[in-house]
Symmetry: C2
Subunit: 454 residues, 2 copies
């Protein structure tokens, strides 16, 4: 039998994270203070994050040690399996070889615990008692709840009201791990109260929820804030994915021509591609790394590269990013984890320098790919993950047209157990496509008064 | 770091299933025809099952080859990991060593695909076009949908109406894998129509759903029926669990004193214990194998050993079983997979011969154990699995009282991603306990007119 699954033992869990900043020809630009527009130093982030994470945010060291305590918890689901997608290849009748790294085996069901665990760990080391965060669809909130529970830290999650009402099971998962979950906007913060005063029935947004979580961290020295994507240290924590995949593809005697990952804020994409991009940067290899973003939130393919806020209220630093504008409200696609207006600083710089690529995909193409995958490979993918599958299928079909045996690797970042109603909509023909017009994008960008980048 | 996770590679997937019948001192009694009460031969099962499965049902061969095609699909999730429960041990402050085998990594989220895949395979080999089955909570129905999809067989699932309405996501999972799912009782069968005529709002039961699925298989030669537990071949397919666990405990340099598994019809329990029971039967080892059943459906601890029907309508053979009577209606506990009135013939004989043990557990104790587990080990267990966890905790606490370093192994048969509302009820204090009185059991058993066993 041909080998389908490539497994590693727990001694293969990486001992260091890879920091791509060390190898970037152009380093990411510094974040700016939202008021003064001046570069901000590590000390200005201290109310929000423990110093070890701030150091990781700004370090240019190429490798950063993973603490033993973190590796100990990684053992619950890491190393994750790498699979050869024989079933999908057969369906597509493609000469391409398709591999996928499966991160859905984590207790929270996605790649998010890879960074939630070290973030909780460094907070615990710093004596932090409580961590606040926001969550949209709930993957990040559940990952942080899981991590905080294991370290005995209180976790307070501000969940976008629309998701809180529409995805009760994700909320219950967080409760099961002991977290408190509040619908956002809430009456627990000034930011929330202000929004509710204007609209008592506000469905909330990720931007508002971030503002609430950040506000609480600023108020209490025993409380810090945690973010699930975008920031440099978050992306670095995810590199365990790609570092393991390198070993697994070695087992398979293979090396990728193309790597694909879904794109929200960048951590999923960074996790699988950065350790491979190193071969491009160091050895001149030509692996194509493709970020798969939703066509309804196309910051990489249709946004601009400039400074922008991470939230809507303006409590976060200004970050150099590909953005649609911090007031852009993405359509309610099912891939909630990809509904963010901007991309992290590192990924944005890499795209600016043409070191990575991006493709935008519509929802129907993605769900069609998700069903094909579930019916050939067996695993039901999260809506976010279907963006990578659809892109991999595009590339496999191109390989067929060209008659080339490309090797494609993608990140199957999570399972779809909490997204079955989205599949029902697709299967019953009720799934609607969300287009975003050039006018809408121009209007959102026109409102920006943040610094441009030369 | 002490090793927590014990992994195997795909070459370690067992090549043969273990058939405990070969080693039993008293063989299970034969099934009887429901009309004539005479022992039935393989040919009488032919309308329901393909001949290869019937052969497996009656074989006394000690080892049965696993086809390559089945092992190929097993690779999607097998070998499953074995973990040492350091977190739970620490919480309990016990000298016991606790291990668990985690079957929730399968695409359907439980151990059920271990038998669904070979059943679909042998049906495919026999040219069967459609398989009918019943499902309660949905684990079995989703496992069979998954397996049928991979072999290109139509799958028709009769889902107990109460579950169909109350657990829509399990139904959608089956649809995603291409299965047709009907609420039972339905208008598609005579059995269903009869029930609906008496009660148009019938919530259904597993017994009714089995009758519907069996009726359809009897009617059409291209249609067969599949069962997810109870039968000998089903139990045998599950022995891959224990066979892998033996290798993994060898890695750990350990051997179990006690093995625990949840008990519904017996396949979960058989899967992990039978390969170890072999050491008791062959070498005189004294491993305690404990079946953990719900106190509200206590066939092993409070039922009788006699012939009984597998369904309520009387279309199945009479099986020698520990039973509460085929008209016994278990209370609506959340562990839907354990709500079955009887135990399979092999397990019943083993219990009769005192070669295994049984314990009955109440729902609150189980959910309390489930929360403890989720908060120390990270994985949210299915309600069925919490029965094994609770029993393992009982034994670990006893080990502490006795000051003995027992080694306990249990089967974590599935995750609880589709059972979050049950956790909500527990966490909000709304979970009710379901008692069954001796009078209720006596009444159900008094109705039985099936043959007794001397």
């Amino acid at each position: 039998m041909a080998q389908k699954k490539f497994v590693l033992t727990e001694s293969d869990i990486p001992e260091k994270w890879y920091n791509i900043v060390a190898d970037m020809p152009n380093k990411p630009l510094p974040p700016l203070h939202p008021g003064t527009k001046e570069p901000i130093g590590p000390d200005m982030l201290a109310p929000l994050f423990p110093m070890e994470l701030i150091k990781q945010e700004v370090t240019t060291d190429k490798w950063v040690d993973i603490p033993d305590e973190v590796r100990e918890i990684y053992k619950i689901w890491r190393p994750t399996p790498l699979f050869r997608a024989y079933g999908l290849e057969k369906l597509l009748d493609t000469p391409a070889k398709i591999y996928y790294k499966y991160e859905g085996v984590s207790p929270a069901g996605s790649h998010k615990p890879n960074t939630a665990v070290p973030q909780a760990y460094y907070n615990k080391q710093a004596g932090v008692k409580r961590i606040t965060t926001e969550t949209g669809a709930g993957q990040w909130g559940s990952a942080l709840s899981f991590a905080c529970q294991l370290f005995g830290i209180e976790c307070e999650v501000y969940m976008v009201r629309a998701s809180y009402d529409g995805k009760p099971y994700r909320k219950l998962m967080m409760n099961t791990w002991g977290a408190s979950v509040y619908p956002s906007p809430s009456n627990r913060t000034e930011a929330g109260k202000k929004i509710l005063a204007g609209d008592p029935n506000s469905p909330g947004s990720l931007g508002i929820a971030i503002s609430e979580a950040v506000e609480l961290a600023f108020q209490d020295e025993n409380t810090k804030y945690a973010l699930g994507s975008v920031l440099n240290h978050v992306l670095m924590h995810q590199t365990v994915i790609g570092l393991e995949a390198i070993k697994q593809l070695e087992q398979a005697g293979d090396f990728p021509d193309i790597i694909v990952a879904p794109f929200g804020g960048g951590s999923n994409f960074a996790g699988i591609t950065f350790p491979f991009l190193r071969y491009n940067l160091e050895e001149g290899k030509k692996i194509r790394c493709i970020a798969a973003e939703p066509a309804s939130c196309p910051k990489l393919t249709r946004g601009v590269f400039r400074y922008d806020l991470g939230d809507t209220v303006g409590m976060t630093p200004l970050i150099p990013m590909y953005t649609l504008g911090h007031n852009f409200i993405p359509a309610p696609i099912h891939a909630g984890g990809l509904r963010y207006h901007g991309a992290g600083a590192i990924v944005s710089q890499l795209l600016k320098d043409s070191l990575i690529e991006a493709q935008a995909l519509k929802q129907l193409e993605c769900f069609d790919a998700g069903i094909k995958f579930a019916r050939t490979e067996g695993i039901i993918p999260a809506p976010e993950a279907t963006h990578a599958i659809a892109t991999a299928i595009r590339e496999a079909e191109r390989a067929k047209e060209e008659g080339t045996a490309k090797t494609i690797l993608f990140n199957l970042c999570g399972h779809g157990h909490f997204d079955m109603s989205a599949y029902e909509q697709y299967l019953s023909g009720k799934l609607v496509e969300h287009e975003v017009t050039q006018e809408e994008i121009m209007q959102s960008l026109a409102e920006l008064d943040t610094p441009e980048i030369a």
